[in-house]
């Protein structure tokens, strides 16, 4: 048996996400795999096979480290005869695997920054000074309380507090 998910929960969840429905257009031709620059250097990275697993609702794909090897370059999507939104579908698989810890530590760092200071990276005082010296305008700080409040029903802030990457501690960039 390919999957224990006999109710197709994973697949149905994915099909329900924005633009998830393109998954079912796939007829497994394999052009994505021969177009993919990562597949070119890594035999285990096979977009067609990932899609097959998702079509068959194999939820283990959400815990697969390789999904984070997708460049999101969309070369597969551009060449796909059915215009399946392949990188997007892999993104949804990543989302599904977040709470199991299938997420690079750097991605968690960035996400936490975005939801605390509203930037993907730390804004240092020397950098602000450099901007001033260059005559570039002050860009202010975004209204973080309002942004976090707006995301309440999604629960992301709470999730980020709980989740731990299975790939180790956070890395500095």
């Amino acid at each position: 048996m390919v999957t224990n998910d006999t109710n197709l929960n994973f697949r149905n969840w994915l099909l329900d996400q924005p633009e998830g429905k393109t998954l079912l257009r796939c007829y497994q031709c394999g052009r994505c795999t021969s177009a993919c620059p990562v597949a070119d250097i890594e035999p285990a990275f096979n977009p067609r096979l990932f899609l097959q697993k998702i079509i068959l609702s194999d939820e283990l794909i959400a815990e697969e480290q390789l999904v984070w090897n997708c460049l999101t370059c969309e070369q597969c999507e551009v060449r796909c005869p059915e215009h399946v939104k392949i990188p997007h579908i892999l993104i949804l698989a990543k989302v599904r695997g977040l709470m199991k810890g299938n997420v690079p530590p750097a991605a968690l760092d960035r996400a936490r920054n975005i939801l605390s200071i509203g930037r993907s990276l730390e804004v240092s005082a020397p950098m602000l000074k450099t901007r001033e010296k260059m005559g570039l305008p002050d860009l202010g700080t975004p209204p973080m309380e309002k942004i976090v409040e707006m995301l309440a029903d999604i629960g992301i802030v709470g999730n980020l507090e709980k989740v731990e990457s299975v790939y180790g501690g956070s890395k500095d960039e």
Partner: protein
């Protein structure tokens, strides 16, 4: 009163429907833009397995129960009094008039009189001008006075005035005075009760289609070009060669290059799986290795033997749609995932043959495009009692299907014209 029909396009379906309607007593005006009839089949030359043109083979088997084959080409022009063939003719306008149509056509001059030429071909021998042959794949040439293919009908040559030097040698040697350098363009208006669109399809190489690099290499070819290479009457005399003149030992065929594709042509081109298998088998008979990269193999019941024979003769099948063909050290290399083993392959070969989409020719003609629908194809009955279509003008199809369709539409046209059901 005798009814008149105009059939636009003398490809296989156009010829077949003209044949049927004239047999039923309808006067048919058959309009063909090329100098010879046959459409796409003129590229095919010898057709497996008997070496005849496809119409003789498939239509005859169905129609004549295996006895006394009737050549549709030759029978047509010489025997039928109520069939008027116009070659090098294009439709300028189709206007409704007096319960029927006025179809206005313009004709390019052949410069060789059809009612005088006895096809001795001495004119071609003496001509000094040599130009690239449109039917050649490896640089073959033809004369300024020429026949496009040896078995073309009408049999008489034509003169390509763009390259003719008017030296007069052909006229001098012609014993029946068939050559007329001064022949002018002409027009004609035909009164017709019905119009039948049989404008067919062209094998459209998707030049802008990414990945397959048709433009980059002369070793990446279409099936029409492959057919010319295999044809003993072609410019390579049936030897399949690369662009550098070397013998070919390995061929990779790619199916669905631009068909079934939202980026190019959304529909399935129906006939290419079959003729790819036919060509694969012919190549195997020449001792050439063949690998077919496919997503699916779609072969109608009548052609299942092509698949069985291919498998038996050792054609290799790889299930996977290649993303690209790249040229390395002068050789085309096909990059494809073998989906059954999950391995990414790089397959080098001497030639790559692309099964390209069959795109309708109809939209190229303004008067005809009035009657076309989705994707540029026409419905079989466009306007009851008035406008019809048959052959690949209604959608891509293989030859047996087109012929059967032509027969069916012929009967419909006839019964409408004769108001049989009224």
């Amino acid at each position: 009163m005798a009814k008149n029909a105009v059939v636009i396009g003398a490809g296989l379906a156009g010829i077949q429907i003209s044949q049927q309607l004239t047999d039923l007593g309808v006067t048919v005006h058959l309009i063909e833009k090329e100098a010879i009839i046959g459409g796409l089949s003129t590229y095919l030359g010898r057709v497996f397995p008997t070496g005849d043109c496809a119409l003789c083979l498939d239509a005859s088997n169905e129609m004549y129960d295996g006895h006394h084959r009737k050549c549709e080409y030759r029978g047509l022009v010489t025997e039928k009094k109520n069939l008027k063939l116009y070659t090098q003719a294009e439709v300028k306008s189709i206007t409704e008039a007096e319960g029927g149509f006025k179809v206005s056509i313009k004709l390019e001059p052949r410069h060789v009189k059809l009612d005088r030429c006895v096809v001795c071909l001495e004119c071609i021998d003496v001509c000094d001008v040599e130009v690239p042959d449109e039917y050649a794949v490896r640089g073959g040439t033809r004369k300024a006075i020429y026949r496009p293919i040896p078995q073309g009908v009408p049999h008489a040559p034509l003169i390509d005035m763009e390259h003719c030097t008017k030296c007069g040698k052909c006229a001098d040697v012609c014993k029946v005075n068939a050559i007329d350098f001064e022949e002018k363009k002409s027009s004609k208006t035909i009164n017709a009760d019905a119009v039948i669109i049989a404008t067919g399809v062209e094998e459209k190489i998707p030049l802008e289609f990414p990945g397959y690099e048709y433009r980059t290499s002369d070793d990446i070819i279409s099936h029409a070009e492959l057919a010319r290479l295999i044809d003993p009457a072609g410019d390579t005399k049936g030897v399949v060669t690369t662009s550098t003149g070397d013998n070919v030992s390995k061929v990779t065929m790619i199916l669905c290059v631009g068909s079934r594709d939202k980026t190019a042509f959304e529909y399935c081109s129906q006939a290419c799986c079959t003729y790819s298998l036919k060509h694969a088998e012919m190549l195997r008979d020449l001792g050439i290795d063949v690998t077919i990269c496919y997503m699916d193999i779609r072969v109608p019941n009548a052609s299942v033997h092509y698949l069985a024979n291919s498998i038996e003769k050792g054609v290799k099948f790889l299930r996977g749609k290649p993303d690209k063909v790249v040229v390395r050290n002068g050789k085309p290399v096909t990059i494809v995932e073998d989906t059954q083993s999950q391995k990414l392959m790089q397959i080098e070969s001497d030639l790559v043959v692309l099964a390209s989409p069959l795109a309708p020719w109809g939209p190229n003609s303004d008067p005809v495009s009035e009657f076309l629908g989705e994707y540029g194809f026409a419905r079989r009955v466009v306007k009851e009692g008035k406008v019809y279509a048959c052959g690949t003008a209604t959608g891509p199809a293989d030859i047996p299907t087109s012929i059967a369709e032509a027969n069916a539409v012929a009967l419909r046209v006839y019964s409408d014209l004769m108001e049989v059901s009224k």
